[in-house]
Amino acid sequence: MQSMELPLVLFTVLSQAAIGLVLMNAVRLHAGPGGGNARKEWTLVAALMGVGIAASLFHLGHPLESYRALAHLEKAWLSREVLAAGIFFALAAFAAFTGREKGSPVLVWASVLTGLLALLASGMTYAPPALPAVNNALPTVFFLISAVVLGAGFASWFAADGNQPLLARIFVTALVVGLVVRLTVPCAWLSGSEIMRQTGMAWLGAPLYWIHIALMAACLGVLWKNRAIPVWLPILALAGELAGRAVFFSETIHTAVNIGAPY
Protein backbone atom coordinates (compact mmCIF):
# COMPACT_ATOMS: atom_id res chain seq x y z
CA MET A 1 0.00 0.00 0.00
CA GLN A 2 1.33 3.41 -0.97
CA SER A 3 0.42 6.83 0.40
CA MET A 4 -3.24 7.87 0.20
CA GLU A 5 -2.16 11.31 -1.15
CA LEU A 6 -5.06 13.15 0.52
CA PRO A 7 -4.27 16.53 -1.13
CA LEU A 8 -4.39 14.86 -4.56
CA VAL A 9 -7.60 13.01 -3.64
CA LEU A 10 -9.20 16.35 -2.75
CA PHE A 11 -7.80 18.17 -5.80
CA THR A 12 -8.84 15.58 -8.36
CA VAL A 13 -12.32 14.90 -6.94
CA LEU A 14 -13.24 18.54 -6.26
CA SER A 15 -11.91 19.74 -9.61
CA GLN A 16 -13.87 16.99 -11.36
CA ALA A 17 -17.02 18.01 -9.48
CA ALA A 18 -16.48 21.57 -10.75
CA ILE A 19 -15.90 20.35 -14.32
CA GLY A 20 -18.98 18.13 -14.05
CA LEU A 21 -21.08 21.11 -12.97
CA VAL A 22 -20.18 23.12 -16.09
CA LEU A 23 -20.77 20.01 -18.23
CA MET A 24 -24.28 19.78 -16.80
CA ASN A 25 -24.70 23.51 -17.32
CA ALA A 26 -23.91 22.97 -21.01
CA VAL A 27 -26.32 20.02 -21.19
CA ARG A 28 -29.06 22.22 -19.72
CA LEU A 29 -28.29 24.98 -22.25
CA HIS A 30 -28.72 22.43 -25.01
CA ALA A 31 -31.92 21.11 -23.44
CA GLY A 32 -33.48 24.56 -23.62
CA PRO A 33 -34.30 27.33 -21.15
CA GLY A 34 -34.92 26.00 -17.70
CA GLY A 35 -34.22 28.84 -15.30
CA GLY A 36 -32.02 28.34 -12.25
CA ASN A 37 -29.48 30.64 -10.63
CA ALA A 38 -26.33 30.76 -12.77
CA ARG A 39 -24.39 33.09 -10.45
CA LYS A 40 -24.73 30.80 -7.43
CA GLU A 41 -23.81 27.80 -9.57
CA TRP A 42 -20.65 29.51 -10.89
CA THR A 43 -19.75 30.44 -7.31
CA LEU A 44 -19.87 26.76 -6.34
CA VAL A 45 -17.83 25.82 -9.46
CA ALA A 46 -15.15 28.40 -8.58
CA ALA A 47 -15.19 27.39 -4.90
CA LEU A 48 -14.78 23.68 -5.69
CA MET A 49 -11.92 24.33 -8.10
CA GLY A 50 -10.34 26.90 -5.76
CA VAL A 51 -10.41 24.56 -2.76
CA GLY A 52 -9.08 21.75 -4.96
CA ILE A 53 -6.16 23.85 -6.21
CA ALA A 54 -5.41 25.05 -2.67
CA ALA A 55 -5.48 21.44 -1.42
CA SER A 56 -3.08 20.36 -4.16
CA LEU A 57 -0.45 22.80 -2.86
CA PHE A 58 -0.25 20.80 0.38
CA HIS A 59 1.01 17.89 -1.71
CA LEU A 60 4.15 19.82 -2.66
CA GLY A 61 7.35 19.80 -0.64
CA HIS A 62 7.76 23.49 -1.54
CA PRO A 63 4.32 25.05 -2.17
CA LEU A 64 5.76 28.57 -2.46
CA GLU A 65 7.70 27.49 -5.55
CA SER A 66 4.57 26.17 -7.27
CA TYR A 67 4.58 29.19 -9.62
CA ARG A 68 7.19 27.31 -11.70
CA ALA A 69 4.73 24.50 -12.44
CA LEU A 70 4.16 25.61 -16.05
CA ALA A 71 7.82 25.26 -17.05
CA HIS A 72 7.42 21.97 -18.93
CA LEU A 73 4.24 22.38 -21.00
CA GLU A 74 6.11 20.87 -23.94
CA LYS A 75 6.10 17.35 -22.45
CA ALA A 76 4.72 17.14 -18.89
CA TRP A 77 1.00 16.42 -18.62
CA LEU A 78 1.12 17.72 -15.04
CA SER A 79 2.15 21.18 -16.32
CA ARG A 80 -0.72 21.04 -18.82
CA GLU A 81 -3.11 19.97 -16.05
CA VAL A 82 -2.04 22.93 -13.91
CA LEU A 83 -2.52 25.35 -16.85
CA ALA A 84 -5.96 24.00 -17.80
CA ALA A 85 -7.14 23.93 -14.16
CA GLY A 86 -5.89 27.49 -13.68
CA ILE A 87 -7.73 28.80 -16.77
CA PHE A 88 -10.87 26.91 -15.72
CA PHE A 89 -10.72 28.47 -12.24
CA ALA A 90 -10.18 31.96 -13.74
CA LEU A 91 -13.20 31.54 -16.04
CA ALA A 92 -15.39 30.27 -13.19
CA ALA A 93 -14.30 33.08 -10.85
CA PHE A 94 -14.94 35.66 -13.62
CA ALA A 95 -18.41 34.23 -14.21
CA ALA A 96 -19.18 34.20 -10.50
CA PHE A 97 -18.12 37.83 -9.98
CA THR A 98 -19.55 39.35 -13.13
CA GLY A 99 -22.45 37.06 -13.92
CA ARG A 100 -26.12 37.62 -13.52
CA GLU A 101 -28.80 35.13 -12.69
CA LYS A 102 -28.87 34.06 -16.34
CA GLY A 103 -25.56 32.49 -17.37
CA SER A 104 -23.44 33.28 -20.42
CA PRO A 105 -23.27 30.44 -23.01
CA VAL A 106 -19.82 31.65 -24.15
CA LEU A 107 -18.44 31.24 -20.64
CA VAL A 108 -20.14 27.87 -20.27
CA TRP A 109 -18.64 26.45 -23.49
CA ALA A 110 -15.19 27.97 -22.81
CA SER A 111 -15.26 26.37 -19.36
CA VAL A 112 -16.44 23.03 -20.77
CA LEU A 113 -13.52 23.04 -23.22
CA THR A 114 -10.85 23.91 -20.62
CA GLY A 115 -12.48 21.59 -18.09
CA LEU A 116 -12.34 18.63 -20.48
CA LEU A 117 -8.72 19.46 -21.31
CA ALA A 118 -7.93 19.57 -17.58
CA LEU A 119 -9.65 16.21 -17.16
CA LEU A 120 -7.68 14.68 -20.03
CA ALA A 121 -4.40 16.10 -18.68
CA SER A 122 -5.28 14.68 -15.25
CA GLY A 123 -5.97 11.29 -16.80
CA MET A 124 -2.60 11.31 -18.59
CA THR A 125 -0.73 12.52 -15.49
CA TYR A 126 -1.99 9.63 -13.36
CA ALA A 127 -1.36 6.97 -16.03
CA PRO A 128 2.44 6.62 -15.73
CA PRO A 129 4.43 3.61 -17.02
CA ALA A 130 5.26 2.64 -13.43
CA LEU A 131 1.61 1.75 -12.72
CA PRO A 132 0.77 -0.85 -15.42
CA ALA A 133 -2.82 -1.33 -14.24
CA VAL A 134 -3.64 2.31 -15.01
CA ASN A 135 -1.02 3.01 -17.72
CA ASN A 136 -3.91 3.34 -20.18
CA ALA A 137 -7.16 5.26 -20.63
CA LEU A 138 -8.65 4.04 -17.33
CA PRO A 139 -7.73 7.12 -15.23
CA THR A 140 -9.44 9.38 -17.79
CA VAL A 141 -12.49 7.08 -17.74
CA PHE A 142 -12.60 7.06 -13.91
CA PHE A 143 -12.25 10.84 -13.79
CA LEU A 144 -14.92 11.42 -16.45
CA ILE A 145 -17.38 9.18 -14.57
CA SER A 146 -16.65 11.07 -11.33
CA ALA A 147 -17.19 14.39 -13.12
CA VAL A 148 -20.57 13.33 -14.54
CA VAL A 149 -21.79 11.72 -11.27
CA LEU A 150 -20.84 14.73 -9.14
CA GLY A 151 -21.79 17.28 -11.80
CA ALA A 152 -25.29 15.87 -12.21
CA GLY A 153 -25.68 15.58 -8.44
CA PHE A 154 -24.61 19.11 -7.57
CA ALA A 155 -26.33 20.66 -10.60
CA SER A 156 -29.64 19.50 -9.11
CA TRP A 157 -29.16 22.19 -6.43
CA PHE A 158 -29.41 24.92 -9.05
CA ALA A 159 -31.47 23.57 -11.94
CA ALA A 160 -35.09 24.51 -12.46
CA ASP A 161 -37.77 21.90 -11.80
CA GLY A 162 -38.13 21.24 -15.53
CA ASN A 163 -34.52 20.06 -15.76
CA GLN A 164 -34.54 17.83 -12.65
CA PRO A 165 -35.71 14.63 -14.42
CA LEU A 166 -32.95 15.07 -17.03
CA LEU A 167 -30.31 15.45 -14.31
CA ALA A 168 -31.69 12.44 -12.43
CA ARG A 169 -31.43 10.34 -15.60
CA ILE A 170 -27.81 11.45 -16.17
CA PHE A 171 -26.99 10.80 -12.49
CA VAL A 172 -28.47 7.28 -12.64
CA THR A 173 -26.73 6.44 -15.94
CA ALA A 174 -23.34 7.66 -14.67
CA LEU A 175 -23.77 5.70 -11.43
CA VAL A 176 -24.65 2.50 -13.30
CA VAL A 177 -21.69 2.95 -15.69
CA GLY A 178 -19.46 3.77 -12.70
CA LEU A 179 -20.57 0.67 -10.81
CA VAL A 180 -20.03 -1.60 -13.83
CA VAL A 181 -16.57 -0.14 -14.53
CA ARG A 182 -15.51 -0.18 -10.87
CA LEU A 183 -16.63 -3.80 -10.40
CA THR A 184 -15.28 -5.24 -13.66
CA VAL A 185 -11.91 -3.48 -13.94
CA PRO A 186 -10.26 -4.97 -10.79
CA CYS A 187 -11.59 -8.40 -11.78
CA ALA A 188 -10.08 -8.00 -15.27
CA TRP A 189 -6.76 -7.04 -13.68
CA LEU A 190 -6.69 -10.41 -11.88
CA SER A 191 -6.01 -12.12 -15.20
CA GLY A 192 -3.36 -9.62 -16.28
CA SER A 193 0.37 -9.34 -15.61
CA GLU A 194 1.75 -9.85 -12.08
CA ILE A 195 1.57 -6.17 -11.11
CA MET A 196 -1.95 -5.86 -12.55
CA ARG A 197 -2.98 -8.96 -10.60
CA GLN A 198 -1.52 -7.50 -7.41
CA THR A 199 -3.36 -4.22 -8.09
CA GLY A 200 -6.63 -6.11 -8.59
CA MET A 201 -6.12 -7.99 -5.32
CA ALA A 202 -5.23 -4.77 -3.47
CA TRP A 203 -8.31 -2.92 -4.77
CA LEU A 204 -10.69 -5.78 -4.03
CA GLY A 205 -9.20 -6.16 -0.55
CA ALA A 206 -9.46 -2.46 0.35
CA PRO A 207 -12.36 -1.44 2.65
CA LEU A 208 -12.50 1.99 0.98
CA TYR A 209 -13.11 0.31 -2.39
CA TRP A 210 -16.20 -1.45 -1.02
CA ILE A 211 -17.32 1.74 0.73
CA HIS A 212 -17.21 3.47 -2.67
CA ILE A 213 -19.22 0.64 -4.27
CA ALA A 214 -21.72 0.67 -1.39
CA LEU A 215 -22.20 4.44 -1.58
CA MET A 216 -22.74 4.33 -5.36
CA ALA A 217 -25.28 1.53 -4.86
CA ALA A 218 -26.95 3.49 -2.04
CA CYS A 219 -27.27 6.56 -4.31
CA LEU A 220 -28.88 4.37 -6.97
CA GLY A 221 -31.26 2.91 -4.37
CA VAL A 222 -32.31 6.38 -3.20
CA LEU A 223 -32.92 7.49 -6.79
CA TRP A 224 -34.87 4.31 -7.52
CA LYS A 225 -37.17 5.08 -4.58
CA ASN A 226 -37.45 8.89 -4.95
CA ARG A 227 -37.24 9.30 -8.77
CA ALA A 228 -35.54 12.64 -8.01
CA ILE A 229 -32.24 13.79 -6.51
CA PRO A 230 -32.68 14.71 -2.80
CA VAL A 231 -30.62 17.72 -1.73
CA TRP A 232 -28.28 15.62 0.44
CA LEU A 233 -27.58 12.92 -2.16
CA PRO A 234 -24.69 14.73 -3.94
CA ILE A 235 -22.83 14.85 -0.61
CA LEU A 236 -23.18 11.06 -0.31
CA ALA A 237 -21.92 10.66 -3.89
CA LEU A 238 -18.99 13.00 -3.09
CA ALA A 239 -18.04 10.86 -0.07
CA GLY A 240 -18.08 7.79 -2.32
CA GLU A 241 -15.87 9.42 -4.95
CA LEU A 242 -13.39 10.55 -2.28
CA ALA A 243 -13.16 6.97 -0.97
CA GLY A 244 -12.73 5.60 -4.49
CA ARG A 245 -10.00 8.11 -5.32
CA ALA A 246 -8.14 7.25 -2.12
CA VAL A 247 -8.10 3.63 -3.33
CA PHE A 248 -6.81 4.78 -6.74
CA PHE A 249 -3.83 6.49 -5.15
CA SER A 250 -3.07 4.10 -2.30
CA GLU A 251 -3.74 0.66 -3.75
CA THR A 252 -2.44 0.84 -7.34
CA ILE A 253 0.76 -1.21 -7.30
CA HIS A 254 4.05 0.26 -8.56
CA THR A 255 6.38 -1.91 -10.68
CA ALA A 256 9.33 -1.15 -8.39
CA VAL A 257 7.79 -3.18 -5.52
CA ASN A 258 8.37 -6.43 -7.41
CA ILE A 259 11.98 -6.10 -8.63
CA GLY A 260 13.67 -9.49 -8.32
CA ALA A 261 10.36 -11.37 -8.68
CA PRO A 262 8.36 -12.35 -11.81
CA TYR A 263 6.47 -9.67 -13.75
Binding site: H59, L60, G61, H62, P63, E65, S66, R68, A69, L70, A71, H72, K75, A76, W77, L78, S79, V82, T125, P128, P129, A130, L131, H254, T255, A256, V257, N258, I259, G260, A261, P262, Y263
Partner: protein, 185 residues
Protein backbone atom coordinates in the same frame (compact mmCIF):
# COMPACT_ATOMS: atom_id res chain seq x y z
CA UNK B 1 24.40 5.49 -31.55
CA UNK B 2 25.19 8.43 -29.28
CA UNK B 3 27.32 7.95 -26.20
CA UNK B 4 25.27 6.37 -23.41
CA UNK B 5 26.93 5.49 -20.14
CA UNK B 6 25.26 2.58 -18.37
CA UNK B 7 25.73 0.08 -15.54
CA UNK B 8 26.51 -3.55 -16.38
CA UNK B 9 25.23 -5.78 -13.57
CA UNK B 10 26.94 -9.17 -13.63
CA UNK B 11 24.72 -11.34 -11.44
CA UNK B 12 27.07 -14.27 -11.90
CA UNK B 13 29.72 -12.33 -9.97
CA UNK B 14 27.48 -10.44 -7.52
CA UNK B 15 27.57 -11.91 -4.00
CA UNK B 16 24.97 -9.56 -2.48
CA UNK B 17 27.42 -7.87 -0.11
CA UNK B 18 25.77 -4.40 -0.37
CA UNK B 19 29.19 -2.71 -0.71
CA UNK B 20 27.92 -0.77 -3.76
CA UNK B 21 24.91 0.53 -1.83
CA UNK B 22 27.07 1.43 1.18
CA UNK B 23 29.67 3.17 -1.00
CA UNK B 24 26.90 5.29 -2.50
CA UNK B 25 25.61 6.24 0.95
CA UNK B 26 29.10 6.97 2.24
CA UNK B 27 29.93 9.15 -0.75
CA UNK B 28 26.75 11.25 -0.71
CA UNK B 29 25.90 11.16 3.04
CA UNK B 30 22.22 10.69 2.31
CA UNK B 31 19.53 11.34 4.89
CA UNK B 32 18.27 8.45 6.97
CA UNK B 33 15.91 6.32 4.91
CA UNK B 34 17.06 7.79 1.58
CA UNK B 35 18.76 5.13 -0.55
CA UNK B 36 19.83 5.56 -4.17
CA UNK B 37 21.14 2.03 -4.79
CA UNK B 38 19.40 -1.18 -3.76
CA UNK B 39 20.53 -4.80 -3.90
CA UNK B 40 17.53 -6.98 -4.80
CA UNK B 41 17.72 -10.76 -4.25
CA UNK B 42 16.25 -12.77 -7.13
CA UNK B 43 13.08 -14.57 -6.14
CA UNK B 44 13.25 -18.38 -6.09
CA UNK B 45 10.71 -18.50 -8.92
CA UNK B 46 13.39 -16.87 -11.09
CA UNK B 47 16.52 -18.43 -9.61
CA UNK B 48 15.52 -21.69 -7.90
CA UNK B 49 18.81 -22.62 -6.28
CA UNK B 50 20.18 -22.71 -2.75
CA UNK B 51 22.77 -20.05 -3.56
CA UNK B 52 21.12 -16.68 -4.09
CA UNK B 53 21.60 -14.25 -6.97
CA UNK B 54 21.15 -10.47 -6.93
CA UNK B 55 20.46 -7.36 -9.03
CA UNK B 56 22.26 -4.23 -7.83
CA UNK B 57 20.16 -1.33 -9.13
CA UNK B 58 20.06 2.44 -8.92
CA UNK B 59 18.89 4.83 -11.65
CA UNK B 60 19.00 3.16 -15.08
CA UNK B 61 19.67 6.45 -16.95
CA UNK B 62 17.02 5.54 -19.52
CA UNK B 63 17.09 6.63 -23.15
CA UNK B 64 13.64 8.25 -22.77
CA UNK B 65 13.42 8.84 -19.00
CA UNK B 66 9.93 8.84 -17.47
CA UNK B 67 11.19 11.17 -14.71
CA UNK B 68 12.43 13.77 -17.20
CA UNK B 69 9.25 13.61 -19.27
CA UNK B 70 6.85 14.11 -16.36
CA UNK B 71 8.77 16.71 -14.34
CA UNK B 72 6.71 19.89 -14.41
CA UNK B 73 9.60 22.20 -13.40
CA UNK B 74 12.25 20.69 -15.71
CA UNK B 75 14.39 19.54 -12.79
CA UNK B 76 15.83 16.67 -14.90
CA UNK B 77 18.28 16.90 -17.78
CA UNK B 78 20.01 14.25 -19.85
CA UNK B 79 23.69 14.91 -20.54
CA UNK B 80 25.40 14.19 -23.86
CA UNK B 81 26.97 11.11 -22.29
CA UNK B 82 23.47 9.76 -21.45
CA UNK B 83 23.56 10.48 -17.71
CA UNK B 84 20.20 11.66 -16.36
CA UNK B 85 20.82 14.38 -13.75
CA UNK B 86 18.31 15.62 -11.18
CA UNK B 87 18.80 19.30 -10.28
CA UNK B 88 17.44 19.33 -6.76
CA UNK B 89 17.43 23.13 -6.48
CA UNK B 90 14.70 23.25 -9.15
CA UNK B 91 12.56 20.46 -7.62
CA UNK B 92 9.36 21.50 -5.81
CA UNK B 93 8.73 18.06 -4.31
CA UNK B 94 5.57 17.10 -6.21
CA UNK B 95 6.53 13.40 -6.33
CA UNK B 96 5.46 12.97 -9.95
CA UNK B 97 8.84 11.48 -10.93
CA UNK B 98 8.71 9.06 -7.98
CA UNK B 99 5.26 7.88 -9.08
CA UNK B 100 6.27 7.65 -12.74
CA UNK B 101 9.66 5.88 -12.80
CA UNK B 102 9.05 2.13 -13.37
CA UNK B 103 12.25 1.32 -11.47
CA UNK B 104 11.68 3.38 -8.31
CA UNK B 105 14.90 5.34 -8.86
CA UNK B 106 13.83 8.81 -7.65
CA UNK B 107 13.17 8.89 -3.90
CA UNK B 108 11.76 11.55 -1.58
CA UNK B 109 14.15 13.32 0.77
CA UNK B 110 11.99 14.20 3.81
CA UNK B 111 14.49 16.79 5.08
CA UNK B 112 14.94 18.68 1.81
CA UNK B 113 11.31 17.94 0.85
CA UNK B 114 12.48 17.33 -2.70
CA UNK B 115 13.18 14.24 -4.81
CA UNK B 116 16.66 12.92 -5.48
CA UNK B 117 18.28 9.99 -7.27
CA UNK B 118 21.51 8.36 -8.46
CA UNK B 119 23.56 10.88 -10.46
CA UNK B 120 25.94 8.25 -11.91
CA UNK B 121 28.57 10.22 -9.90
CA UNK B 122 28.81 12.48 -12.95
CA UNK B 123 31.28 14.74 -11.18
CA UNK B 124 33.55 11.71 -10.74
CA UNK B 125 33.02 10.70 -14.39
CA UNK B 126 34.05 14.21 -15.44
CA UNK B 127 37.22 13.84 -13.36
CA UNK B 128 38.03 10.54 -15.05
CA UNK B 129 37.01 8.43 -12.04
CA UNK B 130 34.55 5.54 -11.78
CA UNK B 131 31.21 5.93 -9.96
CA UNK B 132 31.58 5.16 -6.23
CA UNK B 133 29.47 1.98 -6.48
CA UNK B 134 31.46 0.61 -9.44
CA UNK B 135 34.79 1.42 -7.84
CA UNK B 136 33.83 -0.23 -4.55
CA UNK B 137 32.49 -3.55 -5.91
CA UNK B 138 34.87 -6.21 -4.56
CA UNK B 139 33.96 -8.81 -7.18
CA UNK B 140 33.81 -6.59 -10.26
CA UNK B 141 30.12 -7.38 -10.63
CA UNK B 142 29.21 -3.75 -11.32
CA UNK B 143 30.84 -2.14 -14.34
CA UNK B 144 30.64 1.15 -16.20
CA UNK B 145 29.90 0.63 -19.91
CA UNK B 146 29.13 2.82 -22.92
CA UNK B 147 26.29 1.29 -24.95
CA UNK B 148 27.59 3.06 -28.08
CA UNK B 149 30.83 1.11 -28.06
CA UNK B 150 29.83 -2.06 -26.23
CA UNK B 151 30.51 -5.30 -28.10
CA UNK B 152 27.64 -7.80 -28.46
CA UNK B 153 27.79 -10.40 -25.72
CA UNK B 154 25.76 -12.45 -23.28
CA UNK B 155 24.19 -9.41 -21.63
CA UNK B 156 20.44 -8.75 -21.65
CA UNK B 157 18.36 -5.61 -21.21
CA UNK B 158 15.20 -6.99 -19.62
CA UNK B 159 15.92 -10.13 -17.59
CA UNK B 160 13.26 -11.86 -15.47
CA UNK B 161 12.74 -9.86 -12.28
CA UNK B 162 13.28 -6.49 -13.95
CA UNK B 163 10.32 -4.41 -15.20
CA UNK B 164 10.23 -4.39 -18.99
CA UNK B 165 9.42 -1.02 -20.43
CA UNK B 166 10.39 -0.40 -24.05
CA UNK B 167 9.13 3.19 -24.02
CA UNK B 168 11.62 4.45 -21.46
CA UNK B 169 14.33 2.04 -22.72
CA UNK B 170 16.45 1.46 -19.64
CA UNK B 171 20.22 1.56 -20.22
CA UNK B 172 21.30 -0.98 -17.57
CA UNK B 173 22.46 -4.34 -18.93
CA UNK B 174 22.58 -7.64 -17.05
CA UNK B 175 24.58 -10.83 -17.19
CA UNK B 176 22.37 -13.53 -15.72
CA UNK B 177 23.68 -15.95 -13.08
CA UNK B 178 24.57 -19.46 -14.24
CA UNK B 179 22.99 -22.57 -12.79
CA UNK B 180 25.22 -23.80 -9.93
CA UNK B 181 27.36 -26.83 -10.76
CA UNK B 182 26.22 -29.97 -8.95
CA UNK B 183 29.20 -32.09 -7.84
CA UNK B 184 28.36 -35.75 -7.09
CA UNK B 185 30.97 -37.95 -5.41
Amino acid sequence: MKKQYAFLVDSEKCIGCFTCAMACRNYYHQEKGVVWRHVYPLNEEIYPHRERAFFSLACNHCENPACLNVCLVEAYTKREDGVVVHHQEKCIGCGNCIRSCPYGAPVYNPVEKRAEKCSFCHERLDAGLLPACVQSCPTGALKLIDLATMEPGNHVQFPPGFPKNDKVNSSTRFIMPKVPTMVRR
